[in-house]
């Protein structure tokens, strides 16, 4: 007979405010098997935990039920408490009377009744719990970082620094990401390339880091400590081991009319290319969509001029398989497409640009060599209008409901840089709110207004109309003067919202990591575990988790690295003991369970059984490998003979819960 203790938590007034905790403790005390029942203000506090420990010892409890917050919050805490008092940690059940009761019901009577039902459900379950012991699995001492932007670079560097092998996978031909395209960084205005490229070089030179550029993750199998990943190395048509990055091929290539994607299509490059001078790895890549040789077999100039003989038109995609203990997602972001915002004339006029395009236009390595010129006629712009929140904070289908966070600051930066370099240029910024939380951020924005004379206008642009003379007529509201402004601008810069990279969604499916409705990865806990995904062994770095600027991204990248190092440093991982097991006497060897198992954890063994007539008979029975089983329970339902069951969530336990609810 079980001796069960019940502990009802007030959680301050979070639970006690709507649930009569005394009545709950009293009612649950009368349940069969319960020998002790009490309530306390904060069960998770040290005093509360001591209360539990003392009760376990004094009453010889064989199982405990804590009526408190969600098990996702404190199940681990109370399991440790039980273990400290000598009780098996899996003899603990949590009744969720906060998130699923006190917080959603306002009526005390209703909430109390429900809390009692939830409590007795947990009691019915714990009465059937069995002590479980976690087994241990080894950890592969190697990490995978997906995405080679500043987030991925920093994470890889930090992990490598701790002495672990890191593979960095980047889908573009070079690492560097968005930061490589940016000209200057706020709030210090240091040049992005000057602080990024040394880190890229560090990555390339670090012997613990292996860069897979122009590669993508093809499939992910396995689980924390032991992921099995296939990486697709896309064909560059250039032998990486031979190419020296001299760049002669890019000069001689006759296909000069290929849009330069690194400059966002603002100028052209050759079909064989190195994205930018500081690219890592500095290896040429052939753009198969534009190369004449690959399209119709007529050209071959690059192959002729390459002294190293690195060009290989027959190169195929390669697949590499590798084991990892941990995976970091750093897939980053892109500005949204502005096709839905026809009012800003982005598709009509080349002089309406996004902020990222402006970065390239102002960059010394950009299409104009660092001189800001109108894309249409290469003249100097005298009036520039910035429009903030284009697609951000937009709850219609066109945009994104969230604040993209970085736009206020980079717009202030752009405005300031333009006014600094071209004092004859008038700069107008239309804003809804200027959001500058961050160290030295508001001071930076104020400098733009006070020292550089940027015209900030509280309002929004309603329409941009390209004029026959090449000007752009901008119509917008000034809410403070209550006027409608009409500005003849030479250029309009749109602060487009940012969204997670399109590769993130299929990757999340592969990793079984959850995402929110905007396709940002969700963290395990919004406050306390911000760099971990709820899926064990998957970590988050950078904008893939939510909009953030470079300092925050670097901070999060290092935090993710610390978490990875903490995981890889462990000699072995305690695995989840809630795994499936088969009753060999009932199993008829039908293979139904093997077919549904997503992990291949079930195999069949021939086993001798003693029959009633004292003969032995060999039968084929299922056997579960507990190190591989993740405890989903698909097999338990597939089993036609009821032989398969799941520890911690057994058929009997769930039946008992159903009974307790329906009682």
């Amino acid at each position: 007979m079980q001796k069960i203790g019940v502990f009802v938590c007030h959680c301050g007034t979070n639970i006690a405010g709507t649930v009569d905790v005394k009545a709950v403790a009293e009612a649950l005390g009368k349940e069969p098997g319960v020998v002790f029942s009490t309530e306390y203000q904060y069960m998770c506090s040290e005093a509360g935990q001591n209360l539990i420990k003392d009760a376990i010892k004094n009453y010889g409890l064989t199982g405990i039920v804590v009526c408190s917050c969600s098990p996702r919050m404190h199940e681990a805490t109370f399991r440790k408490t039980a273990a400290a008092a000598g009780l098996n940690s899996y003899m603990v059940e949590i009744a969720n009377i906060r998130e699923q009761c006190s917080w959603i019901h306002k009526d005390v009577k209703v909430a109390t009744e429900k809390a009692i039902v939830l409590g007795r459900t947990a009691i019915a379950k714990v009465a059937l719990n069995t002590p479980l012991t976690a087994s241990e699995t080894p950890v592969v001492k190697r990490a995978l970082v997906i995405g080679g932007g500043i987030a991925g670079i920093q994470t890889a560097l930090d992990i490598a620094d701790a002495g672990y092998e890191v593979d960095l996978v980047e889908k573009e031909p070079t690492i560097g990401g968005k930061m490589a395209q940016i000209d200057k960084t706020f709030p210090t205005l240091d040049c992005a390339a000057c602080i990024l490229t040394p880190k890229m070089v560090d990555c390339a030179q670090n012997e613990k880091i292996h860069i897979y550029a122009y590669s993508e993750v093809e499939s992910v199998k396995g689980f924390v400590g032991n992921f099995n990943v296939t990486i697709k190395k896309k064909a560059r048509f250039v032998d990486e081991t031979k190419c020296t990055g001299c760049g002669i091929c890019t000069e001689k290539c006759p296909m000069k009319k290929t849009p330069n994607l690194f400059n966002l299509g603002l100028d052209n490059r050759s079909a064989i290319y190195i994205p930018f001078a500081q690219a890592i790895p500095k290896i040429a890549t052939i753009d198969a969509d534009y190369c004449n040789m690959l399209k119709n077999g007529k050209c071959g100039v690059c192959s002729k001029v390459c002294a190293a003989g690195a060009i290989d038109y027959k190169q195929q995609d390669q697949y590499i398989e590798q084991q990892y203990g941990a995976i970091v997602v750093a897939t980053g972001f892109n500005p949204i497409k502005l096709d839905n915002y026809s009012e800003f004339a982005y598709n009509e006029s080349p002089d309406v640009v996004t902020s990222l395009e402006l970065e390239r236009l102002m960059n010394a390595a950009g299409p104009n060599g660092g001189t800001l010129l109108r894309p249409s006629d290469k003249t100097h712009p005298h009036t520039i209008v910035f429009v903030q929140c284009v697609g951000s904070r937009d709850t219609t289908d066109c945009g994104k409901p969230y604040c993209s966070k970085i736009c206020c600051m980079y717009t202030a930066k752009h405005a300031m840089l333009i006014r600094d370099k071209y004092p004859d240029t008038e700069v107008y910024v239309f804003y809804m709110d200027v959001r500058t939380p961050g160290k030295n951020f508001d001071e930076f924005y104020r400098r733009a207004v006070e020292d550089y004379g940027v015209h900030y206008i509280k309002g929004m642009v309603g329409k941009v109309m390209p004029q026959p003379d090449g000007k752009l007529l901008v119509r917008g509201s000034d809410l403070l003067t209550d006027e409608q402004l009409k500005i003849e601008a030479d250029m309009v810069v749109l602060a487009a919202a940012i969204e997670p990279d399109k590769t993130a969604r299929p990757l999340a499916t592969m990793l079984t990591a959850s995402m929110d409705t905007n396709d940002f990865f969700t963290e395990a806990h919004p406050k306390l575990r911000p760099v971990e995904s709820p899926t064990a062994g998957i970590f988050l770095s950078g904008v893939c988790q939510g909009p953030k600027d470079i300092p925050e991204t670097v901070a999060q990248a290092s935090a993710a690295a610390a978490k990875v190092i903490g995981l890889l440093a462990k000699p072995a991982l305690k695995s989840n003991p809630c795994t499936a097991h088969s009753d060999e006497n009932l199993c008829n060897g039908c293979s139904s369970c093997e077919r549904v198992c997503p992990y291949g954890a079930i195999s069949y063994v021939d086993k001798e059984f003693r029959m009633p007539d004292r003969t032995t008979k060999v039968r084929r029975v299922a056997s579960v490998n507990p190190a591989v089983c993740q405890g989903c329970g698909a097999c338990t339902v597939a089993c036609p003979s009821g032989a398969m069951d799941l520890s911690g969530f057994s058929n009997k336990q769930i039946m008992a819960e159903v009974d307790a609810i329906c009682r």
């Binding site: 904070r393 937009d394 929004m460 917008g476 509201s477 409608q484």
Partner: protein, 128 residues
């Protein structure tokens, strides 16, 4: 704060949720009739939220609105200022005790060169 009957009625008949407005002013930035109006699209939303409907009812602005709905089209929060202008206008018309324009009378009043959009917006405004 007690909500007036007028505000409730405006919100009900327009179907607009004024609390969604984040005061960006894009509606007024887009309005082609802005200079003609005393109160502008964003103020219609704000005044309804602040329950100052009398101001709007007595303003000539409600007759200056072209009914082009560009403010609602541009609104990033789906508030729909034009729906509010229409609702206020309808309330003003109702207060005058009778509809000034009846749908069946319109064909007789239309000139050949009247733009179609004007007709549609007139219907939308007055056929309440």
């Amino acid at each position: 704060m007690l909500t007036s009957k007028e505000k409730e009625q405006i919100i009900r008949s327009s179907g607009a949720d004024v609390t969604k407005c984040m005061r960006c002013g894009k509606c007024s930035g887009a309005c082609p009739s802005y200079d003609e109006m005393e109160y502008h699209p964003h103020q219609f939303v704000y005044f309804v939220e602040k329950d100052q409907i009398e101001k709007l009812l007595n303003s000539p602005s409600i007759y200056k609105c072209l009914g082009c709905s560009v403010c609602s089209e541009r609104c990033p929060r789906d508030v729909g200022p034009s729906k509010i202008v229409e609702a206020v206008l309808a309330m003003a018309v109702r207060r005058q005790d009778e509809n000034h324009l009846k749908a069946e009378n319109i064909p007789g009043m239309v000139e050949d060169d009247t733009p179609g959009q004007l007709l549609v917006s007139a219907f939308r405004k007055y056929k309440k």
